[in-house]
């Protein structure tokens, strides 16, 4: 599962320090994927993310924490989007340090990866385009 994430271009955050280094002073766009061992992750969320990251417009960086395994990193990451209830799998898209799009577990359950990826790509189109002057 971890290799699958790295292969699609996501950086693993294994500690609170790793999380702070990425989310502490953000510029641009970052997607945080809260991974899990459940069937929703394997059947829908991870394949959806893999599809979405092939889109022409993607976040500048994609990172992942593993709920239930990397406890400190997951808890720390969730502090950056603490207005949202914790769930896994889930995804938070940040732009300049603010959450602009959230995908909760209930939006993943039972949906095919293609549908979730389409929603993600729409969010990428909306929030990840850098403006040119």
């Amino acid at each position: 599962m971890r290799e699958e994430m790295v292969r699609m271009g996501a950086k693993e955050l294994l500690s609170g320090g790793d999380v702070d280094a990425i989310l502490g002073d953000q510029r641009g766009t970052t997607l945080v994927f809260v991974n899990s061992v459940c069937g929703c992750s394997a059947g829908s969320a991870r394949p959806a993310l893999a599809l979405a990251l092939k889109h022409t417009i993607v976040p500048q960086q994609t990172v992942t924490v593993f709920a239930g395994q990397d406890l400190e990193a997951t808890a720390r990451a969730r502090q950056y989007f603490s207005e949202y209830q914790p769930s896994s799998p889930s995804m938070a898209l940040f732009r300049d340090g603010e959450v602009v799009h959230m995908v909760h577990r209930h939006q993943i359950e039972g949906r095919p990866p293609q549908a979730i990826a389409a929603d993600l790509m729409a969010a990428f189109d909306k929030y990840c385009v850098t403006s040119s002057v």
Binding site: G39, Q85, S87, R105, G110, P112
Partner: protein, 95 residues
């Protein structure tokens, strides 16, 4: 919905986040686990009660859709006879 089956042998709603409306006025949002002689088992459940006030139930569900399910109790069993309706959260129609 795709009807993807992640847990063969379980109830069709197993693992899905549902809205359970009960005859005692509670609206419960949580992951459907199973159903047995005791009733419907939900996990990681948020509960809204009718006495919280008119109109607040839809607000509660709107807030839940946007910010996720607030976990009031880890496990809730609702007797089958008290269950008015069970709907997947993503398919729930708000007025």
């Amino acid at each position: 919905m795709s009807g993807l089956v992640f847990h063969p042998g379980h109830h069709a709603l197993h693992g899905m986040t549902v809205v359970l409306e009960a005859s005692d006025g509670r609206t419960c949002v949580g992951r459907f686990d199973t159903e047995d002689e005791a009733g419907v088992h939900l996990r990681d459940v948020g509960i809204h009660r009718a006495e919280d006030g008119p109109g607040t139930r839809d607000d509660y569900l709107r807030h839940t859709l946007k910010f996720g399910v607030r976990r009031d109790v880890p496990h809730l069993v609702v007797p089958r006879g008290s269950v008015l309706r069970i709907t997947r959260l993503t398919e729930y129609r708000l007025d």
